[in-house]
């Protein structure tokens, strides 16, 4: 059962890394600015998912704390960029 869990975790990690590549490609070749902003938000979410999978594989809880920090910074950055794109000024 432990080996089954490890196989599922490694397959899921590979899937998430491929999905991060897709998100980076959409940020690079997006249709418009909002499309790229959605790509950046998705990239932050997938990076947090990869960190949680690494915490599950290596069984060390410090990676979940790193994922919390990443989620906070991704949230603030996305909100600030959306406001900056709409109002053409930051504050």
């Amino acid at each position: 059962m432990e080996t089954v869990l490890n196989v599922v975790l490694c397959t899921s990690l590979a899937c998430h890394i491929v999905m991060m590549d897709i998100a980076i490609w959409r940020v690079w070749r997006g249709e418009n600015a909002i499309d790229r902003l959605i790509g950046v938000d998705l990239l932050g979410t997938l990076t947090a998912a990869v960190l949680i999978l690494v915490a599950l594989i290596s069984q060390r809880g410090i990676y979940i704390s790193v994922a919390i920090g990443l989620a906070v910074l991704s949230f603030v950055g996305t909100i600030a960029l959306a406001k900056c794109l709409t109002d053409k000024k930051m504050f």
Binding site: L5, T11, M19, A23, I38, T45
Partner: protein, 111 residues
């Protein structure tokens, strides 16, 4: 008991990865900014939260930090999606194959 927790962890990781793949496929294939935003919300709410439930089922990891991160993601996911959608609407991005646009009708109607 340990067997049951491992089964819960395997199921949560599998379903979470399935939702993430569906969300990213929708982000690639859907025709519109708003529809793509709807698809990426699934990755935020279902994919990462199910992975965190899998970490809570593992006995070696502490579950309080995972619970804090679940609450944070549940709060900030809709806020982020609403901010991006509001920005797209105010920038005037087109909606493809839209049946009706109630917000534009309300904004253009005289008081």
């Amino acid at each position: 008991m340990s067997m049951l927790l491992q089964l819960i962890a395997i199921a949560a990781v599998g379903i979470g990865t399935f939702f993430s793949v569906i969300g990213v496929l929708g982000f690639l294939r859907l025709p519109d900014v708003f529809a793509r935003l709807h698809a990426t919300g699934k990755v935020n709410v279902f994919g990462v939260v199910l992975l965190l439930i899998a970490t809570m089922a593992r006995a070696q990891l502490e579950w309080g930090v995972s619970l804090i991160l679940i609450c944070f993601l549940m709060i900030t996911g809709p806020v982020t999606a609403h901010a991006i959608g509001s920005a797209a609407k105010r920038l005037g991005l087109p909606m493809k194959r839209a049946v009706r646009d109630d917000l534009a009708r309300d904004l253009n109607s005289p008081k």
